[in-house]
C-alpha cells in the first residue's frame, strides 16, 4: 500500500544516469492506454479514483511520438515525456469496485463488540500507564519525538504476536524472507523507480555523509519487490507466497486527536505477506490473502469489519483493496489494522517480473497484505481484553507463544524513572 506513494511520484525527477538508457522505460501497456477507443474508460477511471494523470496529454504525446523518426534527435526526449505521463496513470479498477461510491463496502463483520457493562474502557495509553508497560514521555531529547519503549510483558506480547503470525504463515506454506530495512535507490531504480528526496514521508540517510541513495524502508513490500525485480518464474512455481518480518519507518506525522499516542508512529515492526500469481489467478489470490488475514485476526477476539475499498481509496497501483478495521473500545473508534491489495501488472511491468506461459514471457500479477502491524494490533488487543481489575486477558491462541501466560499484570520489574532536575 505504501508503494503507491513511490509509484505516484516516479519519473517526476529522473537521475541523469537513468535518462540515458531507454531500456529503463517501464513496459506500460501502450496498446491499451494509447488506443483512442479506451480514452473514455481511462478518463472515467482517473476521475473515479481521484487520481492524477491526463489521458488527453498522453494521446497528444503519443501521436507526436508516432510521427517522430527514431533517428530524430528529439525522439528520445519525446518518448521520455510520453512515459512520464503514462507512468502517472492509475491501475485499472476491478469491475465490482467501479460501482462503489464514496464509502467502502462492508464485506462482513467479525466477532461482537465486547460488552464492558458499567465500566468505561480505557485507552491504550492509560492502560499501559496504569500497568507500567510502556514509556513515551520525555524522549524527544534522546531518541526523537513519538518514540516509545514497550516494557516487560508488553514486549513479550509483541514477540508472541510475531511468533504466532509467522508460525501460522509457515503452516500455510509461505516462504520466509529476511529483508534489508535500508534500501539503496539502485534497488528501486533498477527499473527506473525514483524517489523524491524532498518527500518528508520517507526517511533517508544524510546524503552528504552516506551517499545520495539510501532510504529507510516504509514496508517490507518494497524490499520484497526489490528482491523480485528482473526475475522470470515458471508457471508451475506460481503462486509464490512470501512473508517477511521487518522494521518499517515512516516520517509522516499527524496532528489529529484521533491519531495520538502510538496509533501513528515513526517506526514499528510488521509482518508482511507478498504474493506473485498468474493474471487469471490474482482475484482468487486476493481472496486468499484476505481469508488469511481474517483467520489470523479472528481468534484474537476483537471486533472488526472487513471493507472492500472504493475507487478513490485505492491509490495508483491497486486494482482492488480490502482493509480491515478493528474496534478499539478505549479510543471508541475503528482503526485500520491491515490492508491487502491486488496490484495486477502495475508493479510487475515496472519491476519486470515475468513468468513463462506456453513458451511466452508474460507479466505476473503481484499482491500484498499486512499480516500483523504491531502497534495497532497491541492497541486493539489491550483495549478489548482489559479487565477492570487491572489486568489484561491474553487470547488463548496467543498463550502458547507467551509461556502459557493467561494474562498480563502490572509490571513491577521495571522501576519508574524520575527525570533529574538540574541545578543551574
Amino acid at each position: 500500500m505504501f508503494l503507491r506513494l513511490f509509484f505516484k511520484i516516479r519519473f517526476i525527477r529522473k537521475p541523469p544516469m537513468v535518462r540515458k538508457f531507454s531500456t529503463c522505460f517501464p513496459d506500460i501497456d501502450i496498446d491499451y492506454y494509447c488506443d483512442v477507443k479506451n480514452m473514455l474508460e481511462i478518463k472515467r477511471n482517473i476521475q473515479d479514483r481521484k487520481g492524477i494523470g491526463d489521458i488527453n496529454k498522453v494521446q497528444e504525446m503519443y501521436s507526436l511520438y508516432k510521427d517522430t523518426q527514431i533517428g530524430d534527435l528529439s525522439h528520445l526526449s519525446i518518448k521520455e515525456n510520453l512515459y512520464k505521463e503514462l507512468a502517472k496513470l492509475p491501475n485499472k479498477t476491478h469491475p465490482m469496485v467501479k460501482g462503489y461510491t464514496e464509502t467502502p463496502q462492508v464485506v462482513h463483520e467479525i466477532n461482537k463488540k465486547k460488552d464492558f457493562g458499567p465500566h468505561n474502557p480505557l485507552e491504550f495509553s492509560e492502560i499501559t500507564q496504569h500497568l507500567n508497560l510502556m514509556r513515551t514521555d520525555k524522549l524527544g531529547y534522546t531518541c526523537g519525538n513519538k518514540s516509545y519503549y514497550y516494557l516487560g510483558e508488553l514486549a513479550e506480547l509483541e514477540e508472541a504476536l510475531i511468533k504466532y503470525t509467522v508460525f501460522s504463515l509457515l503452516k500455510r506454506k509461505f516462504q520466509l524472507v529476511s529483508v534489508p530495512d535500508i534500501l539503496s535507490s539502485n534497488v528501486l531504480q533498477s527499473c527506473g523507480m525514483t524517489i523524491n528526496n524532498d518527500r518528508t514521508q520517507i526517511y533517508s540517510l544524510d546524503p552528504v555523509h552516506h551517499g545520495p541513495d539510501l532510504y529507510l524502508s516504509g514496508t517490507a513490500e518494497m524490499s520484497l519487490a526489490g528482491l523480485l525485480t528482473n526475475t522470470v518464474h515458471s508457471e508451475k512455481d506460481l503462486p509464490l507466497k512470501l512473508a517477511a518480518v521487518s522494521r518499517c519507518y515512516r516520517a509522516e506525522t499527524s496532528n489529529l486527536v484521533d491519531e495520538r499516542g502510538t496509533y501513528r508512529v515513526h517506526q514499528f515492526t510488521k509482518v508482511e505477506m507478498f504474493a506473485v500469481s498468474t493474471p487469471q489467478n490474482s482475484d482468487e489470490m486476493l481472496e486468499y490473502l484476505r481469508e488469511t488475514q481474517e483467520e489470523l485476526f479472528s481468534p484474537l477476539d476483537f471486533h472488526m469489519k472487513v471493507l472492500d475499498m472504493p475507487p478513490h481509496e485505492l491509490g495508483a497501483p491497486a486494482y482492488r483493496k480490502y482493509d480491515i478495521e478493528a474496534w478499539m473500545p478505549g479510543r471508541n473508534n475503528y482503526g485500520e489494522i491491515s490492508s491487502c491489495s491486488n496490484c495486477t501488472d502495475y508493479q510487475s511491468r515496472r519491476l519486470n517480473i515475468k513468468y513463462v506461459n506456453e513458451n511466452k514471457l508474460k507479466y505476473v500479477h503481484t499482491l500484498n497484505g499486512t499480516a500483523c502491524a504491531i502497534p495497532r494490533m497491541l492497541i486493539a488487543l489491550l483495549e478489548t481484553h482489559q479487565d477492570p481489575k487491572g489486568k489484561i486477558n491474553i487470547p488463548s491462541v496467543l498463550q502458547p507463544f507467551i509461556n502459557s501466560k493467561k494474562f498480563i499484570v502490572k509490571n513491577s520489574n521495571v522501576p519508574k524513572l524520575k527525570l533529574m532536575k538540574l541545578k543551574k
Binding site: 534522546t142 520466509l176 544524510d206
Partner: protein, 406 residues
C-alpha cells in the same frame, strides 16, 4: 588528574596517543579562571552587603563612592571573564571527554586471554556466501543490502526467540526499544556523533537549521544507545538494583570494510543485554553470572566457540573490560567475535546523567551491557562448519511455542 601516572600507564596499555599535558594545562587554566571569577564574586558580594548597610543607615561620603566604583569595576571584570571562561571550559571539557574509561583488573595487557573453550574448531575451506548461494539461503547484493531466505530467515527469528526465552528464564526483563538516538546519546556513549563511519546519520528533513550536535542517528533497538537513551538524565532509587534488561531488535552501523561478507553487514538482528548495579563489586558478580549464562546458551547449540577477555589495546574507549564470544571462521581463517559483553562501569552513566539516590546523595550506576547474539555473524560461522548446514533444533518453529500440538 591526581593519578596522572596511572592514567599514563593505562593510556599506554590501550596504545592511545592522548596528550595528558595539554589536558592538564587546559584544565588548570580553566580552574584558574574559575577561581578568579569566584574571588571577584565573593568580593562583590562582600562590598554589596557593606553598601546595603550603608544605604540603610544613610551613610554617604568618600568611602561610599569608593565602594561604588569598586563594585562597578568588579562587575566589569566578571563580565569580561565570562566569555574566555566559557570557551576554555568548553575546550577543557571536550579534551577531558577524550580520556578513556579506566581498565578493569581482568583486562589483559598484550594478548587476549582465553578463559573458556568448547569443542574443536572446524577444518575446511568453506565460505558462508558460497554455501549460502548454493543452498539458496542468502541473496547477497552488498554489505548494506542482503536477504536471508527460507531456513536462513527462520534461523534469524529462531535464534532470537531461543535467546529471548533463556534470558527470560534467567529473570531478564524484555524491552522493545526505538531505533533512533540523538547525537548527545552517541557522544555520551563514547562515540563520535559527527563521524559517519561509526553511526548512520539521518537526513535532516525539517525546515529548521541543521545542528551537527543534534542529529538523529539510526542505531537500532538492539543497540546500547537505545538503553542509555532510556536512562539518560533519570534518577532511580537504590533499592531497584540490579537491573537486568534485554532487547531483541536491529543493530545498524556503517560497514567497516568493502569486502562482501555477513561479518561486515550494516544491518544485524541482535539480542542486547543491559545490566546496572550500584557499585563495582555488584557488577563483578553480574559479570560472572552472565558468563555462566553465555556458556549455557552457546554450549547447548553444540558448535565450537571460545570466550576471551580482550586485550587493552582492542577495547573501545568506554569499555573497561570486554568478554568476546568467538567462533572460528573457515573463510577468514581466524576467530570472529560473534557476540560480547562489556563493562562500562559508571563511565557512560556519568556522561549521560544516569543516576540513583542513596543516602540522599546522587550516585552513578555501574553498567554491563553487550550484544550476546549477532545473527548474521553467528549464521556465517555456522554455515562454515564442517558438517552440512541444518537449522539448529533449538531455533525450529516447534520450539517457538509451549504446546507442541499447535
Amino acid at each position: 588528574m591526581k593519578d596522572k601516572d596511572l592514567i599514563k600507564a593505562e593510556l599506554k596499555k590501550r596504545q592511545l596517543e592522548i596528550d595528558l599535558n595539554k589536558i592538564e594545562n587546559l584544565w588548570s587554566a580553566y580552574e584558574e579562571l574559575k577561581t578568579r571569577k569566584l574571588e571577584y564574586e565573593n568580593k562583590k558580594e562582600k562590598i554589596s552587603k557593606e553598601l546595603s548597610v550603608m544605604i540603610k543607615n544613610k551613610q554617604e561620603g568618600n568611602h561610599f563612592e569608593k565602594l561604588k566604583i569598586q563594585i562597578n569595576l568588579l562587575k566589569d571584570n566578571i563580565k569580561k571573564l565570562k566569555e574566555p571562561l566559557w570557551s576554555i571550559e568548553e575546550l577543557a571539557i571536550l579534551e577531558a571527554l577524550k580520556l578513556p574509561n579506566k581498565l578493569h583488573n581482568l583486562t589483559p595487557e598484550l594478548y587476549d586471554q582465553i578463559i573458556f573453550e568448547h569443542g574443536v574448531k572446524p577444518n575446511n575451506n568453506k565460505d558462508h556466501l558460497k554455501v549460502g548461494k548454493e543452498k539458496n539461503l542468502i541473496h547477497f547484493i552488498k554489505n548494506e543490502n542482503y536477504y536471508l531466505k527460507d531456513d536462513a530467515a527462520l534461523f534469524e527469528l529462531g535464534a532470537k526467540f531461543y535467546f529471548s526465552q533463556i534470558l527470560k528464564n534467567n529473570s531478564y526483563i524484555q524491552f522493545s526499544n526505538p531505533d533512533f538516538a540523538k547525537s548527545l546519546v552517541i557522544e555520551g556513549c563514547g562515540g563520535d556523533h559527527t563521524n559517519s563511519d561509526s553511526t548512520f546519520i539521518l537526513h535532516h528533513n525539517e525546515d529548521t537549521k541543521v545542528n551537527a550536535d543534534s542529529r538523529l542517528h539510526l542505531t537500532g533497538g538492539g543497540s546500547l544507545y537505545s538503553f542509555f537513551a532510556y536512562h539518560a538524565k533519570n534518577v532511580l532509587y537504590d533499592k531497584v538494583f540490579p537491573l537486568k534488561y534485554f532487547s531483541m531488535g536491529r543493530q545498524y552501523s556503517p560497514s567497516p570494510v568493502k569486502e562482501d561478507s555477513l561479518y561486515h553487514v550494516s544491518q544485524s538482528s541482535v539480542i542486547q543485554i543491559f545490566n546496572a548495579t550500584r557499585n563495582e563489586a555488584e557488577l563483578n558478580d553480574v559479570l560472572h553470572s552472565n558468563i555462566d549464562l553465555i556458556k549455557k546458551l552457546y554450549t547447548q547449540l553444540g558448535y565450537h566457540y571460545r570466550l576471551s577477555f580482550v586485550a587493552a589495546d582492542r577495547l573501545n574507549m568506554w569499555e573497561s573490560l570486554r568478554l568476546a564470544i568467538e567462533m572460528y571462521s573457515s573463510s577468514q581463517k581466524c576467530y570472529v567475535e560473534v557476540g560480547n559483553i562489556s563493562m562500562s562501569e559508571d563511565f557512560i552513566s556519568k556522561r549521560l546523567m544516569f543516576t540513583y539516590t542513596e543516602d540522599k546523595q546522587y550516585k552513578f550506576p555501574f553498567v554491563l551491557s553487550g550484544t550476546i547474539l549477532n545473527v548474521p555473524k553467528l549464521l556465517a560461522c555456522i554455515l562454515e562448519q564442517d558438517d552440512e548446514f541444518v537449522l539448529p533444533e533449538q531455533f525450529g518453529i516447534d520450539n517457538w511455542c509451549t504446546v507442541s500440538t499447535m
